[in-house]
Subunit: 342 residues, 2 copies
């Protein structure tokens, strides 16, 4: 079978089948002009040699031909949210006959740049990315010189590029308004680094809800830069021990929600909680956790849809698609302020 060490080429197949390389090429590409007898001989040779076409050599001659590859950069695949997002995009791409080059930026602009360079050198036909918060300067180049690009989960921020995001501000506002309707007036905000756009937006939503209800802002009740379960837990404990202590918490992402839940577990005073991001088991906890839910799969497939619209030649101004969130009220937000005030 494979007598040579290196992978067989089309020439090897041609020789084995006793035909010219063009006949092999035609058979492989399904050009329907080759006589059945030759098709057979070529296919046999292909099978015997274990030949596999070199996809890149084939795109080389047709200058600027599609590589049928797209690049995907998320914050971190190990995060279930981005895993689900990546899965949805891959599904869509595979359907269209595309393969996915993939990387996690880990919120590092440096790593993002490296990945973009590597993908660019591999001539991806399109790019889906969750951009880092570290400035849009290098993205501007990509958008200008690179392949069609769609940003997901973070906004275009002035760049002429398509984007798909969820309505963070509205989601946060809904959750906080719900706590206010429950009678709470001392509501704490626990969020991630405010350099991250989603964190900012959720804080803005929190403030909007307070404003609408005519509740004065209390700076001591706003904590940010919470990046892990452990820091969130610690911050939450401090907050609960302080004065005035909040009767309700709004936690601005799933990691922080989990940290807060840990802090609340052994806290003597019942405290209401609503969090951004649904998470597995939010329903099984006691009490079940009220959350602002949104759908990473919808986010991913919408982004892929927008991207393939572009690669297939649609030429229109950049658009921003905003996906809705949904407030799921469960037990954790039903604690009354008077219980907390004990």
């Amino acid at each position: 079978m494979s007598e040579r060490g290196s992978t067989p080429t089309m020439k090897d197949v041609a020789k084995a089948a006793g035909v010219g390389v063009m006949t092999v090429s035609r058979v492989i590409n399904g050009v329907p002009v080759v006589s059945p007898a030759l098709v057979d001989r070529v296919n046999t040779a292909i099978r015997e040699l274990g030949y596999q076409r070199n996809h890149f050599a084939s795109t080389l001659r047709r200058r600027g031909a599609a590589t049928n590859t797209i690049g995907l950069i998320v914050d971190d695949v190990a995060n279930p949210f981005y895993g689900a997002l990546a899965g949805a995009i891959e599904d869509f791409a595979l359907d269209k006959g595309y393969t996915v080059l993939f990387g996690s930026s880990k919120e590092s602009p440096q790593r993002e740049r490296e990945l973009l360079a590597a993908f660019g050198a591999r001539r991806v036909d399109g790019l889906v990315l969750v951009p880092t918060s570290g400035g849009r300067a290098h993205l501007a180049e990509v958008v200008r010189d690179g392949p069609p690009t769609v940003l997901v989960d973070r906004p275009a921020d002035g760049l002429p590029v398509d984007s798909v995001v969820i309505d963070n501000q509205r989601g946060a506002r809904d959750a906080v308004a719900h706590l206010i309707r429950g009678g709470h007036r001392r509501i704490a905000f626990l969020g991630d680094r405010l350099s991250i756009w989603t964190a900012q937006q959720r804080l803005a939503g929190y403030r909007a809800a307070l404003d609408e209800a005519g509740i004065a802002h209390h700076p001591a009740l706003v904590l940010d830069s919470l990046r892990t379960v452990w820091t969130a837990e610690a911050a939450c404990r401090t907050l609960l021990a302080g004065s005035p202590s909040p009767t309700a918490l709004f936690t601005a992402n799933d990691v922080i929600t989990i940290g807060a839940l840990r802090a609340l577990r052994d806290h003597p005073v019942p405290t209401a909680l609503a969090g951004f991001d649904d998470f597995p088991l939010s329903e099984q906890l006691d009490p079940a956790v009220t959350v602002v839910a949104h759908d990473p799969v919808a986010l991913g497939s919408t982004a892929a849809e927008v991207l393939f619209d572009r690669t297939e030649g649609r030429d229109s101004p950049p658009r921003e698609v905003v996906l809705p969130t949904r407030l799921i009220v469960r037990g954790s937000s039903e604690v009354r302020p008077d219980e907390a005030a004990v």
Copy 2:
């Protein structure tokens, strides 16, 4: 800057810099023979044109040169376990200067074949895969003709290929032995499709633990083919309502554990539970859940390590690396059988 529609080539750069293409090539590859003046001119031209080397064209001439790309196929990235695995492999690959082509097989041999073909056509230098359960026939070809390959989370199963797995049988045996030590004798097994190797192994571990304790097997207490939270929940309810009902459950993966927890929530008789796979919040539940933990990140980085050992030329017989599991005892397994017997 970019006056032409298509991406600039090396020739464009050479012309712009007023040098030959070879000088450009040498500058790009850092061959230290070019005079500083020319290096400058070339770099300026590169910047002005926004030139990016075509990675594939460059590998073409050096026949069989590394594409610096590896392929990764997991069951499903949307599953946090595989997301974490993928993240660890990507980290390792990026460190080595490799880019990752990625896909989810969704446990479909057909889709696995498509991905392998797409990756092969793109001449990946290595392959990490969680193989589907659908036979190893097409994998045999890949192992024979393809690039260095490592299987993860599933065994080589006779194929001459490296693999990295966790000790499923031992993990299950430990968990069930722990339940037995707690006094339980009617212990149910709830597992996934037994065509999946890990499910089989975990069942084997369950049986081994029973055998060691001299407890007779009871077929009615063994349920398999549980694929979702909902089917697991339903199966568990049926089981609990049956006779003899188990006093303890061993759930063979995280999805099933969660389903069982749902069923147990409104079940009047306290029932012990230990599950395979740790999951977020396993600690926060009430009672906290006893699990067999294992580390997807270690699994991934070990697999990547084994792979790069190969790509860097190590030539030794295929090896199987088995990673240990760890039983984390929490409250859920501490229910006594006499409480259950009420």
